[in-house]
Amino acid sequence: MIDGLTEAVRLIVTGDREIIEITIRSLQVAFLGTLMATVVGLPLGILVGMKSFKGKRVVKTVFNALIGIPTVSLGLLLYIFLSHSGPLGFLDLLYTVQGIAVGEAILVTPMIVSFVASAIESKGLLLRDLVRTLGASEFETSLAILREAYSGVSLAVISSFNRAFAELGIAMMIGANIKGVTRVLTTAIALQSAMGEIGLSLALSFILIIVVLTLNLLISFLQRGE
């Protein structure tokens, strides 16, 4: 334990080039994935949250269930699709960071939809009627509600980022942990522990935790400023 921690500190302080590269790649994958998921999931979440329609309960249940999908299963499924003999092989996304990011996006989209929908339902429905009676358009109404549900929405985005950042199954299946190309923190941890380098894999884990903690502290700081 102590060895891992001192090793982590040493790696960060000395700025080990490979570790920095891997950490940046992890951030980048999680960021891209969350961005894509937000672009798709936010409007969907608003829609589900604001509208009342037949089968809404079913839709919400499905999204809630999809949050818990095992990442290895999703990774395997995506691998079969993205493999060169698979239906989406022509996209050439296998063994690329972009491919991993797409996988993470698919993983976290249900989370964003579900969280955003709940946030809006709890905060915005009364507001919706109020704003509408004041003559706002549908788009303006959405904006007003989003502003009110801001903390719920940011929670959705941040949780998604964390999940995408700390996830192993998809990164391994689609990226295959290629050194200097698709190796991210989680796959590097898996490899180092498989190689018996317990100290180094602990160090990488600490870096992962430090990054997640820092991000979350930053966010809670931001939210307090509200």
């Binding site: 940046i24 790649r25 951030l27 980048q28 960021f31 891209l32 493999s83 060169h84 003999s85 698979g86 092989g89 296998l94 063994y95 960071v97 972009q98 940011s154 295959a176 942990n177 290629i178 050194k179 200097g180 190309v181 490899l191 498989a194 190689m195 018996g196 380098e197 317990i198 930053l218 931001l222 939210q223 400023g225 509200e226």
Partner: protein, 330 residues
Amino acid sequence: MKQKTLFLTFISIGIILISSSWYLFQPPKESLIVSTTTSLYETGLLDAIKSSFEAKYSGFNISFISQGTGKAIETAKRGDADMILVHDPGSEFTFLSEGYGVNRKIIAYNFFIIVGPKSDPAGVEGLTLLEALKKIYAQGLEGNALWVSRGDNSGTHSKEKALWKAAGLNLTRIKTEKVSGADNSWYLEAGAGMTSTLQLANQKGSYTLSDIGIFLKNSKKGNIQLKSFVEGGKEILNVYSAIVVNPQKVPQARFDKAMLFLKFLVSDEGQELFRTFGALELGQSIFKPWIPVSKTKSDPALIKWVEEYAFFNGAECPVQYRYNAGDLFS
């Protein structure tokens, strides 16, 4: 207050965007994808080879995907690799005869070892390989010994299955037999890579089949306290080969690049990397280069073993499985 929040959010998003985009839009190098067995990768040998090769041919990038032999072959069949480095002659022959692979070259060899707890509960010290397996089986049923299998369809796993068969034991039956007077089996399946399997064997105090490199590495690191009991011999020979993916069967395979790398592996320079690897860190080299042996015919007994174990119809790569091989087999 709210505007400040939004402002800060945008700033932080901007920082992440910029820091990631320099990375994202780097021009891709010419890449070659090699799916390979874990025992070659996890020792660190392939990263050493990668550095030497990329230093010689700058602008090249070799991507290794570390998997068990079974999965490595499956990956290549799906068109997701350009070359394989594996150690299971049986499945290599299937790979060739199904038309997926061409130009197979044997590149290196070493020997598996049987390792177990220092106390040697089954008493296999000094026995020959097949006697040792039979003894472990008998003692296992008595409840005195345990065995851990890789159980992951890797080359080492294939070898283990072949060894039980050679010892005249039926593995299917072994798996169903219970230790006398208990409800558990003495035969455990790890379903994991070599290091994890060794660590499991270490925890459980059981015997297992290991490749020498990863055993030495973990012993040196203090991860395991197992002892090697049976070493060397024909049955326990471990032969590594490289096979190029056939571009006639898998059109997107990067044949020319794979051939360039294969020629590097069998060159004097490449073979020297096999010979010297591990000497510094582990005190002894763990892979033995094959090309010098086959060229100089220095060890007739060993050559005979390799021919019997890893040749197909008297050749490392029969003529019908060669494609634009140039002088590779001369």
